[in-house]
């Protein structure tokens, strides 16, 4: 009668997404925030001095970071209210599956917001996407994986503090540097049509970060509990 890691992970992810589907408020907020941010940034620069194409990568990944953070808080927040987390912790499900399930749900959430933000940037900044769309999407997925791994772990801890909404960004942002830098730099190079080998270095760095931190955060999550 055991509970497997994969089964529990999937059930938890599904449950989180079902709840988000029913309430939708966080997703709409994050989506609108992304659109607003993209629009506001456009007016923050002088379009005659700096072409939109050069601005776009920076804007895209800054917006990615902050809209990602918006969604992360709710991940463990929804367990707090009625102490549903206690039921999860005392169940037979492996601790790691709680983390992985929530991270998976967060990943879907972040990718969904990206699906709004990236086309918005492409539209508003007149990006010549063409053949780079696939590569761009690839970086978006990899960056989201890293963001979600670190963000889910920190939101698990932050939710138990008094200043959760403020603490989460302060803790997480340094960790986003090895995610956002490769993503933004690679995007810029892709859009400028630079040779592929320059992009490979950034890709490798991002991949390495993802591998290390998904593993580390999954392994370390059970240690946040009392036992």
């Amino acid at each position: 009668m055991g509970v497997g890691l994969a089964g529990a992970t999937w059930a938890i992810a599904r449950k989180d997404l079902l709840i988000e589907l029913r309430t939708r408020t966080t997703f709409i907020a994050a989506g609108v925030f992304a659109l607003l941010g993209v629009s506001i940034f456009y007016f923050a620069w002088d379009p005659t001095a700096i072409p939109a194409v050069d601005l776009a990568p920076g804007v895209l990944w800054v917006i990615f970071t902050f809209s990602g953070l918006l969604g992360l808080h709710r991940s463990f927040g929804l367990e707090q209210e009625s102490r549903a987390i206690d039921a999860l912790v005392t169940s037979a499900a492996p601790r790691e599956s709680i983390f992985l399930g929530k991270a998976l749900a967060n990943l879907v959430f972040v990718l969904a917001v990206q699906a709004i933000a990236i086309p918005a940037v492409a539209l508003m900044y007149n990006l010549p996407l063409g053949g780079t769309v696939l590569a761009l999407a690839g970086f978006a997925v990899l960056a989201s994986v890293g963001l979600v791994a670190v963000g889910t772990l920190f939101s698990a801890m932050a939710v138990n503090t008094r200043m959760a909404e403020l603490l989460l960004p302060v803790l997480a942002l340094p960790f986003f540097v090895p995610i956002v830098m490769p993503a933004a730099q690679a995007t810029a190079k892709l859009l400028a049509g630079r040779p592929a080998d320059e992009i490979y270095s950034w890709l490798k760095l991002l991949l390495a970060f993802d591998l290390v931190f998904v593993f580390a955060c999954t392994m370390i999550y059970p240690w946040t509990f009392e036992e």
Binding site: L18, T90, A92
Partner: protein, 204 residues
Amino acid sequence: MCRAFGARTIVDGVDLLVGPAECLAIFGPNGAGKTTLLRLLAGLLRPTAGAITIGGEKLSRSPLARSRVGIISHHHMLYEALTGRENVQFAAQMHGVEDSNAVSRSLERMGALEFADVPVRALSRGMQQRVTIARALVHDPDVLLADEPYTALDEAGTRAVAARFSAIRGSGGSIVLVTHNAEEGSAAATRTARMENGRFFEAA
């Protein structure tokens, strides 16, 4: 089946053994440490000294041991956006329950089947409590830790709880019950005890 002793200063030097088919009711004033004791027994807290074992296995190390325990706390632990059925279904998945009828059966035993497909948010506190108990019992636990299970329940609900308690004891399970409801508590109990300022005193 369950033994615990010594802990933080909130629970002081408790040495406890609960056997099969027993129901231990713990009474006491607010702040006595009863809820903390229950959380310790549930494995939610780590004792500063001593250990909790179920059937000889340490709770924290063994998901299998955890699958034998059911918990009712005074938070309802339900996801308010989901329906009662979805909540109980999720709990069944978390405990690896394979029987597909277990969810409906558990809801029905608590008289919660009629409103099982309504989001929990829309239910009254009493109805939520019925769903909570259905959720706690869906995996047929051998050990039930119940903190104020009778909260907000009407007569029918209270009778359903009493019936469930008897059923658990009937199949050899143990219950540790914390309640302010002296009447129900004494009726369900085979042993009673009192906690005051973290110290535990068992009645004869």
